[in-house]
Structure formats: C-alpha cells, structure tokens
C-alpha cells in the first residue's frame, strides 16, 4: 500500500527524509505539509496526493496531530473513501519506520494501522539512568 504523511509545516518532509536513513526500500510515500499558503492550497495538494495514491492502491494517511488541519482534511477524505483509506494521528519516527517496512509488503489496512499504533506508542519513552552492574558473562553467553 501507499503512505501519505500529512503535517503542519515541514515535519512530514523531515519524517520522510529520516525514513530513508532507516529503510532502503520503504512503501511508496509522499509528504504534504500545511504552510503559509493556507488551508485551501493544502487541501488541494492533499486531495491530489491521496487521489494519486488511491489510483495506485490502498493508502494510509499518517497525520501529525489529532484535530489539527492535516488530520481534519484527511478525515474528510476518509469519509469519502472508507474502503481504501485509513488515517492515523500522532505520527512519529518509530511509527513511520515500522509502517514504511510493513506497508511495502501488505495491503491489509487494518493490520498496518495496528502496527502504526503499537510502534508509535512503544517508541515514546523516558531515558533511564543505567544501573552500575558488572558484566555477568554467564548471563551473556
């Protein structure tokens, strides 16, 4: 399936750029950002990207913020294409890496949405200070 990353500003472009450092051959992916040209311009580009994507196959939109314009415009498209489109919000890098890999080999939208939610949540952590334990070789080998 195909991926459309929709965000405020250039976050979407940055996510796609970073993805290529982690995955050599991800699923087909495009970025559409809301910028100073305003909502009508954004909607036109998003609709064009999603229509082009849907012409090639099933499509997942990864939006950055629930309730934000990229999400809301994506949701409008979801209502028009409930069979072939899914939308997630809260896109982050761990989510995109897993989706980029999974979507390359899958056309199961619900499965890939599940992978997105799991990876997106699991990737949000606070760094913990290390315990000062000596290396236990019996445990290592």
């Amino acid at each position: 399936m195909n991926i459309v990353v929709a965000s405020h500003g250039k976050l979407c472009e940055g996510l796609v750029d970073a993805l290529h450092m982690m995955v050599a051959e991800p699923a087909p992916i495009v970025a559409v950002g809301l910028d100073e040209h305003g909502i009508d311009n954004f909607r036109e580009r998003l609709v064009a990207a999603v229509e082009a994507s849907l012409a090639q196959g099933k499509t997942l939109i990864m939006s950055d913020l629930i309730g934000g314009t990229p999400y809301n415009e994506s949701y409008t498209l979801l209502l028009q294409h409930p069979e072939d489109l899914r939308v997630v919000a809260g896109a982050n890098f761990p989510m995109l890496v897993e989706v980029g890999i999974a979507a390359a080999d899958s056309d199961d939208l619900d499965e890939v949405v599940g992978i997105a939610l799991e990876a997106g949540r699991a990737g949000v952590v606070a760094a913990e200070l290390p315990e000062d334990e000596p290396l236990d070789e019996d445990d290592l080998f």
Binding site: M22, V23, A24, E25, E128, P130, L135, E137, L140, F141
Partner: protein, 164 residues
Amino acid sequence: MAIVLARVDDRVIHGQTTTRWVAVKPADAILVISDKVAADQLRCKVLKAAAGKLKLGIYTLAQGPEALAKASASAKSFFVISDSIRNFADLTKIGGDYGGVLNVGNLNATREGTKNMGNTVMLNDEDVVALDELAAAGVDIQFQLLPDDSIRTWPELKAKYQAM
C-alpha cells in the same frame, strides 16, 4: 545459532542495528570488540543503553578471540560489532572466528584521506590494506548498510576506489 552478524560500524550500536538488523537476524546479545570503545567508559554506558533489551559485552581486541569462541559455543545468537575494518583484520589475524562473513555498514566518521564510496561508506588507503588482508584470509566482505540494501562486494568497491 551463535554469531548471526559480524559488522563494521563506526556508530557501533544505533537505530539501524537495533531496529532493522535485529528484525531480520534475531539476536540475544551484542559483542563489541574494540580497544577504543573498551577504554571509553562513558561510551560503554551509552552503548549499553543503546543496546536496550539486548545483552551487551564490550571487549578489547586481545580478549576478542576468547569472547568469540564462547559466543560460537553458546545456544544464544550474537551480533559482533567493531568500529573499524582494521579491528576485524587484526581480530582475524589473532584467530578470532566470527563466521567468515563480514558486513560493512556505516563508516562515515571524519577520517584522513577518505573517498566516499556511497551509502555511508568512506574508505581510505588504510582500509584498503585491511580489506585486502581480510579478503586474503577468505572472509566474505559484504557492504550493506540496511538489510534491504543490495550487497556490494569488495572487488566491486576496490575497482571503484582505485578509479577515484
């Protein structure tokens, strides 16, 4: 299973390793063999955190062959990582056995006299000497950053290096 991946990577343990390579070659532990890394306590702590759920052993070059022998005899699966090609050439010379296949991933830290071979591999004349030593020892050298990248061979890259 023993050693499932031996890799040259100057970033040692990072996202590409723990996210991508572990997914295609499941491992229980990572062995880092490098005098430079072993001598740097702060870096050892950072690498331990980077390894996450994987166990981590950090060894000097001299300790390397024994650690590799233990890994080979173990029922667990291991990644062996070092931060230079020279380290693997020396490890091979002193009898370290990591399975005869060497993956080369990131080599793009700033070093003298490097040529950019593409896909985050920068080689210099010292690397070429070390790679020739490894090839002469029968090691199968595979340049491959990510598991879904195609593999480039040493003869292929050597020809490219010499033409640059």
